[in-house]
Symmetry: C2
Subunit: 197 residues, 2 copies
């Protein structure tokens, strides 16, 4: 890796992300988060652990919040979007899966990101962009149900995605993650009934 | 007020709130918040302004968050719960009114309370109690609609109240308060349609 050709090549890509370093930073951030928690999480600590320069990290993740969001999102990628065949089943699996995932620890990361976003405008912008992206992803559950004729043609998938995500956040942000399927099923039924064909 | 009998009487009620001092503290807190913002808000500053002892304030409001919640709630009491005659009208008025109220400034107070509650367990407990109380209040909109036969008998007013409040919070906490009636009406329609009789 210290081959001069390699160094020249790296320098030539400028601000573009080097995939290996990019992953190393995310690995380091995730490990630091697991070991030291949010209180011990800093760009400096991540840089040291990843053997990367702080300016490099700041170029890719201008704020700590953006780095945390990427770590959080990478952890979440292991969760497959539900596809149970019915909108009620999908929405229930979505809520049960998300609350259960948050309970395991990542909920506290997401809570901290929300906290940061209430007083820091750059963190707020990062959270807004992230949640818009996730909302579009969640909307697919409803678009699929429309496509198979389960929902009314005028059901708004984006609005439905926002409503179910907002409900999940409200449980997270008020520390009420202990809801089980029996509690969540009537919530989901009330949410989707008006959209059914 | 420096009459010895009064002083004796005050002392005798112990930890019970003296209404005059109680109001003076809330007045001082509200004035300090308006003048100095959240950054300049402290129990010490409130005590100085209200000419009250810090121990007195802490006895009534063990955390800054609880005092902020009381100030925030007192400001909100001027907002009358909507009663337009239809559930769609009421829900729309609820969302339009709440987002508009938050835009005028108090939204930042509530955002700070949410932020505090993500890392401080006492603040979280205060927020949980406050939101449970407000949810019960919002549920009345749906109970009234059930009573007049507009909603299905099995519609769950508490769940409906939680869903609409969660939606409003999600707009507040991601800094998306600029929604107008035209944007909110289809959201409300999708929320309530499944509950209609």
């Amino acid at each position: 890796m210290s081959d001069p050709a390699t160094i020249e090549k790296r320098a030539s890509i400028g601000a573009r992300r080097n995939p290996a370093t990019h992953e190393a930073v995310l690995d380091a951030a995730e490990a630091l988060l697991r070991e030291s928690g949010l209180a011990g999480f800093s760009i400096e600590g991540v840089a040291r652990r990843a053997r990367a320069g702080k300016p490099t990290i700041y170029r890719w993740w201008p704020t700590k919040t953006q780095l945390l969001l990427d770590v959080y999102q990478r952890l979440k990628l292991n969760i497959r979007p539900p596809d149970t065949g019915t909108i009620e089943g999908d929405c229930l699996a979505f809520l049960v899966g998300l609350l259960g995932y948050w309970r395991q620890g990542p909920g506290q990361v997401f809570r901290s990101i929300f906290a940061e976003a209430q007083t820091d405008e750059r963190a707020a912008e990062a959270l807004r962009a992230y949640t818009a992206d996730r909302r579009a992803n969640t909307a697919r559950i409803f678009e699929r149900a429309k496509a198979r004729g389960e929902l009314r043609p005028d059901a708004d998938a984006a609005v439905a995605a926002e409503i179910i995500a907002a409900f999940a956040w409200s449980r997270l942000l008020t520390g009420r993650l202990d809801a089980d399927e029996a509690e969540l099923r009537p919530v989901v039924q009330q949410m989707v009934r008006g959209m059914l064909a």
